[in-house]
Structure formats: structure tokens, C-alpha cells
């Protein structure tokens, strides 16, 4: 079909255009819009009826008029050009260069919408990734092909943690490093610069593709940015056989952009004004991660989700938690005590940990050490609450032991340096050192054989 151009725009509001009398336009197709000054914008058909077409304008509808706006239906889906040249480059949400260099030239173009991986073609992720961070490796291990978000709050060091993981992540006993796809949505200039500098100084820049939409860029573009970034990640993983780590920050701004457009469209809101399809929409993004049969590469994902008012039950972290395979939760309380990384282990979880750890992967005692630490820490938290009411002096000998454990755990196990890369053995040994402050018979989650081998206490 030939490319059609129309000047029948009848409405422009909130990032949306309505074009009348444009029959035969395909749903989901790409649109090019020329405004009165000759400026070019990009859009996508989000509703196609025979009498009117609704277009989402990625650059927004600011400063458009109805008379002098030309709409051209490109008769192709929203696509990105793919080639190995992507690495080391920086793009916007549509895959256009942001680094002043020429666009990618390639015959290989793929629609960014992607499609669902056939569950029967997936492979279960089970290769332990050592991040060098004790609270993750020891208690919430990450495996290749997993999506493990960082739940954070404003002012917490999620970006530093994400950067440290990018720097340190490796398979145990293997030197292959990850290729990184970095997707930034609505972040500040300073945050984007932090990552850029971080990638440059750690020498991984040549292995990174960046997709950036800053806080002052058009929000509508955020809707397509993670899809564009993941299309690039899929290319790197499944065409070029690379192991890809996708860092996406911040999914909250993505969801807010989605709400903005949904409201403009008049969608029925479900919770807190977010549309009912927020779950499906987030799943389309998150589920693009994983491993596929007989493909060497993999996609591991670490999205950053900042929890509005630190509320983990807010729809965005809540729905994310239902899709991702666990979450790493940062705590303001630990952060205020000067502990880095302030990982709150109680609500943190890795669902894919069980098959990535143990005798053949990390160490045989690992699963039970993790369960025991969690049980002790949960009890220690109760004791802390109790101590804050009745005072530490009133506590029994046993309870004081828990308090001492909790303090040592927070400062020594949770806390570590920003450049401290702990091996999994070091993490587990540290856990044993802390657990050994308890008598043997209080460590009921561990096996006798574990105790015989690793217990260092005197009881």
C-alpha cells in the first residue's frame, strides 16, 4: 500500500491526535507528523476505526495546530535498526542517535513491540551470577535469565547499587562479562551522567548500549523506550550470542507516562488512576527476559522501581513484584544509618535462587545458611522492637544475643564498600562467622554436617 498523508487532524490533546477520514490504516503502525514549522514528530496508531484514527505522538502534542499539521502513515510498525554497531552508542526511545553520531545503517530492522516467547521454547535459568554483594549472592541470588528488580525510594542509592552490579557481575569461575543495555526513562541529567561516567571509568562502555529519555524529554517517548531497548537486547542475546544485562531505570516514570496517556485516552482507571492493563503492559516488558533453548545468549534484567512514598503496596512495585522473580528492597532506615548497600533482607527475595545454588553451583550449605540467616534475622527484628519498648537492659541473655547478631549483621554482612567485590565463599564464611555467635542447637535450619564443617562457635 502506498504511503498516505492527511491533513484532517480534528483533535490534539495530551499526546494524542485524532485524524478523520483516514481509512485502511493499520493498528500499531508508525506515523510521521509534520507541524506548521516543518518540524517532524513520530507517532503510532493506537486505535484504528474506519472513520477516525487515534495517534500517540511520542514527542507530545505541544505547539501543534489542527490546520497545518500533516500526518503521514508510514505503513510499517515502529522498528529499530540492528547491527553490532549498537554497542557503545546512545539512543533515544525511538532508536535515534543521541550522541551526535550517524544513525545505525542496517537491513535488519525489527518491530519493537516484540512477541511472546513460547513457554515451551524457554530454558529454566539456573546459572548463578556472582554480583559480589553479600545480601544478593548469599541470600537472594541472581541467576542468568532472571528479572530481579531493585525496589527503592527517592534519595536511596539504587543507581550506585545498579552500577556496582554492572561492574562486578560475573558467572562464578568464568571471566565472560555481560553486555549491558541501559534504559533510562525520565531520569535526571545527573543520573544519566552518573551511569555514563561509571561505564566509562570501569571500561565497559564499549559493551554498553544506552537508551535515554531524560526527565525533561517528552514523556510519551518513555512508552516505547523499554521496548526499543529490549529489542536491542534480544538482538545482542539471541543473534550475537551475548549474555545481556538490562538495567532499566526508573520503571515508575514509565508507568506514570502510561497513566498520563491512558487518562488522555479516557481509559477506565483501576487503582490510583493507573489503567487496568498496567499489569499486562509491564509484563510485556519484563517477560522479554529469560533464556531460550539452544540459544547461547541470555537476557537478565534489573529494573529499578522507585516506590512512591516508600510504599511497597503502591500499584507499580506491587504489580512488578507479581511479574518479576523476586525483588531487592532498599531501606531508608539502613541508609540513614550509613549502611551501603541498604538492602532490607526481610522483604527481599529471589525466586530462582533455589536451582542456582548448592553443591554444584555455589556451596552445599548455601540454601540452609540462607534460610537460617533469615530465621535469625526475623527473630532479631522482633527483639529489636521489644528492646525499643522495654529497653535493652530488660532483655534476657538469649535476646541480647539476637540484638548483637542483628547489629553485626547490618554493619558487616549488609554493609560493604562500593568497590568491595566479595566472592560467594567470602559471603558464606562471613555468614557462618555471624551465626556462630549462637549455640549449635539454636541453629535448627542447618544440618549436622554443615555445623560439623563450618561452625566456629564454642558451644
Amino acid at each position: 500500500m502506498s504511503i498516505k498523508e492527511y491533513r484532517t487532524v480534528t483533535q490534539a490533546r495530551g499526546g494524542l491526535l485524532v485524524v478523520k477520514d483516514a481509512p485502511g490504516v493499520a493498528f500499531g503502525d508508525r506515523v510521521r507528523i509534520e507541524d506548521y514549522s516543518g518540524g517532524i514528530r513520530n507517532g503510532q496508531v493506537i486505535r484504528a476505526a474506519d472513520d477516525a484514527v487515534l495517534i500517540l505522538v511520542f514527542e507530545g502534542t505541544e505547539d501543534l495546530d489542527l490546520e497545518r499539521t500533516w500526518v503521514r502513515f508510514l505503513d510499517e510498525p515502529v522498528e529499530i535498526a540492528l547491527s553490532p554497531e549498537l554497542l557503545g552508542r546512545e539512543f533515544n526511545g525511538l532508536g535515534e542517535p543521541r550522541d551526535g553520531r550517524p544513525p545505525i545503517l542496517s537491513n535488519l530492522r525489527r518491530p519493537v513491540a516484540g512477541s511472546a516467547i513460547n513457554p515451551a521454547a524457554r530454558t529454566y535459568p539456573r546459572e548463578f551470577i556472582q554480583t559480589g554483594i553479600s545480601t544478593i549472592d548469599g541470600l537472594n541470588s541472581l541467576v542468568r535469565g532472571q528479572k530481579l528488580p531493585i525496589f527503592s525510594g527517592s534519595g536511596l542509592p539504587h543507581n550506585r547499587l545498579a552500577a556496582q552490579i554492572v561492574r562486578q557481575a560475573k558467572l562464578k569461575d568464568e571471566d565472560t562479562s555481560f553486555s549491558v543495555v541501559f534504559a533510562a526513562m525520565g531520569v535526571s541529567y545527573a543520573d544519566a551522567k552518573f551511569f555514563r561516567d561509571e561505564f566509562a571509568s570501569s571500561g565497559v562502555l564499549r559493551n554498553v548500549v544506552m537508551f535515554i529519555n531524560l526527565a525533561d524529554d517528552p514523556p510519551v517517548e518513555r512508552l516505547t523506550l523499554p521496548r526499543t531497548a529490549l529489542t536491542a537486547a534480544e538482538y545482542l542475546a539471541y543473534d550475537l550470542d551475548r549474555h545481556v544485562l538490562v538495567v532499566m531505570t526508573d520503571m515508575t516514570y514509565y508507568a506514570e507516562a502510561l497513566r498520563e496517556v491512558a487518562t488522555a485516552k479516557g481509559d477506565v482507571p483501576a487503582r490510583k488512576g493507573y489503567p487496568g492493563y498496567l499489569y499486562s503492559d509491564l509484563a510485556e516488558i519484563y517477560e522479554r527476559c529469560g533464556r531460550i533453548h539452544q540459544r547461547h545468549g541470555s537476557i537478565t534484567m534489573m529494573p529499578v522501581v522507585s516506590m512512591p512514598s516508600d510504599d511497597i503496596t503502591h500499584p507499580i512495585p506491587d504489580l512488578t513484584g507479581y511479574i518479576t522473580e523476586g525483588q531487592i528492597v532498599l531501606s531508608r532506615e539502613l541508609h540513614n544509618q550509613g549502611i551501603y548497600p541498604p538492602v532490607h533482607i526481610s522483604p527481599s527475595l529471589s525466586r530462582l535462587m533455589k536451582d542456582g545454588i548448592g553443591k554444584d553451583d555455589t556451596r552445599e550449605d548455601h540454601p540452609r545458611v540462607s534460610a537460617q540467616i533469615y530465621a535469625l534475622y526475623a527473630r532479631a527484628q522482633e527483639t529489636r522492637n521489644l528492646a525499643s519498648i522495654i529497653g535493652a537492659d530488660e532483655l534476657s541473655e538469649r535476646d541480647r544475643r539476637y540484638l548483637a547478631f542483628a547489629d553485626a549483621f547490618d554493619t558487616r554482612f549488609v554493609g560493604q564498600g562500593e568497590s568491595e567485590d566479595r566472592s560467594i565463599e567470602a559471603t558464606l564464611n562471613l555468614a557462618w562467622e555471624l551465626m556462630s555467635s549462637f549455640p549449635r542447637d539454636m541453629l535448627t535450619r542447618l544440618k549436622e554436617t554443615d555445623l560439623a564443617k563450618y561452625y566456629t562457635g564454642t558451644d
Binding site: 485502511g24 493498528f27 513460547n118 482507571p269 527475595l349 525466586r351 533455589k354
Partner: protein
Amino acid sequence: MTELSRTGAIRDINGPIVTVDLPGARSGEQVKIGELGLFGEVISLAGTTAVVQTYESTDGVRPGEIAVGLGFPLSVELGPGLMGGIFDGVQRPLEKIALQSGDYIRRGISVPALDRARQWEFEPNEALEPGAKVSGGLVLGTVQETLTVKHRILVPPGVAGELEELAPAGDYDIEASIARVRTAKGHILKLSMYHRWPVRRPRPYLRRDDGISPLITGQRVIDTFFPQLKGGKGAVPGPFGAGKTVVQQQIARWSNADIVIYVGCGERGNELVDVLESFPQLDDPYSGRKLMERTLLVANTSNMPVVAREASIYVGVTMAEYYRDMGYDVVMLADSTSRWAEALREVSGRLGQMPVEEGYPAYLASRLAAVYERAGRVETYGAGSGSVTLIGAVSPPGGDFSEPVTSHTKDIIETFWALSKELADARHYPSIDWVTSFSGHVHTAAQWWHKEVDANWERRRTAALALLARDAELSRIVNLVGPEALSDAQRWELEGASLIKEGVLQQSALDDVDTFCSPQKQFALLDIAIKIYTSGAELIAIGVPVSELQNLPILAKMRRIKSMYTSDQMDQIQAFRAEVNSAMEEIRIEYAKQGEPAVS
């Protein structure tokens, strides 16, 4: 069916909702959309236009393209070849699709659920002679579908007449005619080994019966504390990370049902793969064969089209009813019904229907109830008694159990296994909260336990729950004023409750020994824990200080014994009972020697 098909044109595409001009369309009818041939179903009609929800992404579809009404509603194929399979939300076989379209699911692909080429060894029902009266649900013969499952070939519901011919034993494909039936009107019907059934219509049965035997899942907190009956309906609500999926998978693995149907409805791809990869490795504790031989999966991952997600529950339950009609006990697990409800909400939102609670449509409660009502134990038409047990996971937003899906579900179901975030955070799994969970089946289950295991079952269960309730009460005091305020007897109550929690309720799905626990072992653990508590309480009453009891090594062993010995090593567990008795007796004698029982 082609003579029934009609064509029309697409008018409007709004995501998965497509409006078509299709005169004569019927509500629920299947429609093929556009040149891609995407499948969908009519959800509302007005004049000559029909609103169609499509099971696949509509990207690239244009107004003016063709729409074909197929004349029949969404149906599934029922026949040999289902077991061990993995299907998508509209019963397309995912493994075959992977062969045809690679790692991603190509749109518009249409592959029948059952293999047309495969030959099955058919054994005719010897009781049937030509001339016999046959009707829907009657067993025509059997096929060994997998090593574990004998598939009974049924006369499709609605067919009735006189048997003219029944095929002799031999190999047939599923389309071959294996029987001819002359109806009352004189029509000759050829029956093959499979038939189709519309998923939104419950399959008929002779009558509904009460459940009588518990579904044994090998999970102590379920079987012993909150039992489920075969034919019952239950829900597992819990916030994310509380362990819903593990609870469901444990039931799928270890329950004593004949058939397990696992519907991953809007779930994680990686977790479904875990099931796909691990089940063929796991042994069925009852038949000794591989679990996959009695398991069937319906997989609609969260990123697959939302409308197919809505259909997946119906597709699953229809297949469950089909195996029920063969006289089997079927367990269907739906993970998660919240995603299904959200699919309803998403579609109703796109239709601009008036939302009632949190954006959900007004028909949420009635739809939920209708789905759960398809569970039950029934007398089938031709294969004796069969049952469908339906267990749905619920994912309440923010873990708030008062939200619409959880609260409506709670009104419908009989067994409620409420998962608690606090327990999960302390890695107490399964994190089924003993305070908020309930089972309406305790008395029926008790009859089974008393007959099969021990006559003291209900008494011990009640004692344990009372101790746990007391623990909750005392813990509140401790949190206010500290443990020093408690008497020795009260502190022993806390210790007793902790023994129940750690020694009985907690059960690790990852521990090879403890992952499955036989009813005998369940009762023994409970009985010994209660025994330790009661004899300890007696000792405290005669003046033994609680600290002396707390230092007994049997306490640590009670917490560990579940994972020391398997269900086959009951001797060692009984030996531990003797150990407990003698340890307690020793203290009693010691204190009796000192004479002077302390006055309390």
C-alpha cells in the same frame, strides 16, 4: 462447519477489542479476524455490528479487512493425547507451535490440540454388544494414554441411540470411526475417539455428591490443619513473594489425585518452565512413574494476549471435567485467578463498561462463582464417581485481602489457605497463616483420618490450634512487657507453640526428605510435639523450672526430625517418641526423688 460461516468487515480496532460488521453473528461465536486470521470471540452485539475480543495481538490489522464468523463457540478437543501436553490459553499445543514457528509464537498460527497422525491402541468395552442402548458419558472402550493414565473413550454428551457397531481392538488415529450409533430419528452417527466441547458450558453429569475423602497433598499444614476434600474448591491468597506458586506446585506434585491440570494464568514464563522441566524428572509418589504422565499444563504467561488469559481458566476446567467424566479424581490448579479477573477488567474497561469496585465490572462475582462451581464430586453417566477439585491462587494487590477478587473468592470457596507476608519474610514456609486460614471440611476429613490413621487426629489438631492461639495471645503480652512477665507455664506454652510451628507446620519444599509427608508421619510429628508439650506442662506443674525443659536436646531434635527421616522410616520416628518419653520420665523421677512438689 463451513456452511455456517459468514463474512463481514472490520470497522474499528482498539487493542484486542475489534468491532466488525457481521450480520447474524451469535454471542460467543468464534471469529477469524483480518488477513492474518487471528482468532477471537464475539462478546457483544448491536444491530449488525459485533464486538470481538481477539486472543492475539492486533498490530497491523486494518479497518476494512475481512472478518469471518465460524458459527461455533470457543471449544476444546477432548480425546487421547492431552496428558503430558502443554497448551496455550486457547488449547494450542505449544510444543508443536515451537516446531512450526520457532521461539516466538507466530500470530494466526492454528494447530489442533490433538495429534491427528498418532495411533492409539483401542480396547473396546466388552460389555457393549451391537444393539445396546448408548448415551452421552458411556464408556465405549479404553486407550492407554500414558503409562499412568488409562483414557476412557466416552460417548460425547448429547449423543444417544442404539449401538450399531463398535470397532474391534486395534490401533486407530483419533479421527477414525470407532463406533456407529443409530439415533431415535434413524440418523447414523459415526463416533471417533475425540469430540469437541464448548468451554464456557459445564459438562453434564448424573448427580452431584458430597465429598467424602480428603485430598492428601503431603503438606502438613494443609492435610492436618486445613484439609481439602476431593471435589472441593479452595483458594490460596497471598501477596507476592509469600509462596503461592510453591504451594500450588507442591499440590500438583504430591497430591493423590489421578489427574493434575495446572493452569498458569498470566504467570511468569520462567516458573512455567520450571514445571515443564522438573515434572518429567519427578516421580509420582503414588504410581512410581513420572509425574508428567498424569499432568497437563495450560500456559498463558503474563505477556501473552490478555483475552487468551481469560479463556485459559475455562479451557483448563473443561479438560478437568472431561477426565472427571472418565471417573477420575482431578485437581485443577489455577495460578492465578486474580490475573484472570484482571483480564475481565481489562476487556470491560476497553468496552467502556461501568466499573464497580476498583475498576472491576459488576459481573466479577458471578463469573468467579460460576467458575468455582464447576468443581465438585459427581456421579458420572458411565464411569462411576469422579471429581474436580479446583484450587485457585489469588494475588491481592498490596496483600490486601479485602480487595474485590479475594473477598468474592472467599465467599465461594470452602478452603482458604491464607499466605502471610510476615511468615514468608521469616522464611517460614509454607507461609499459610493458621489464624486467618480455614477449612470447611475438617469434620469430613476427620472421619477419614480416624479410620485410616489414628482416632486421636481431631483431638491433637484441636490441641495444636489452641496452643497456637494461646501463643498469639501471649506474644502480644511479651511485645508489651517482655518475656520476664510470663510464668513458667506460660513460657512453656510459647515453647510448645514454637515446636508446632517449627517441627510440624514448617515444611521445606526444597528438602528431599521433607517435601512430601505421609499422613502417618504427619500424625506422628503432631502427636509427639503435643506429647512433649503436655508432659512438659505436667512437669512444670510439679515444680520443674522451664529452663531445665528448654535445655532438653529432644526439643532441638523435634524441630529437625521432619527432615531426618522419610515417610518410610516410621520406625525411627516412633523410636524418637520413646526417646521423648524416657527424657521426660527421667526428669519426673529426679523431681519425685527430691520430693516436696512445689506449690503453684
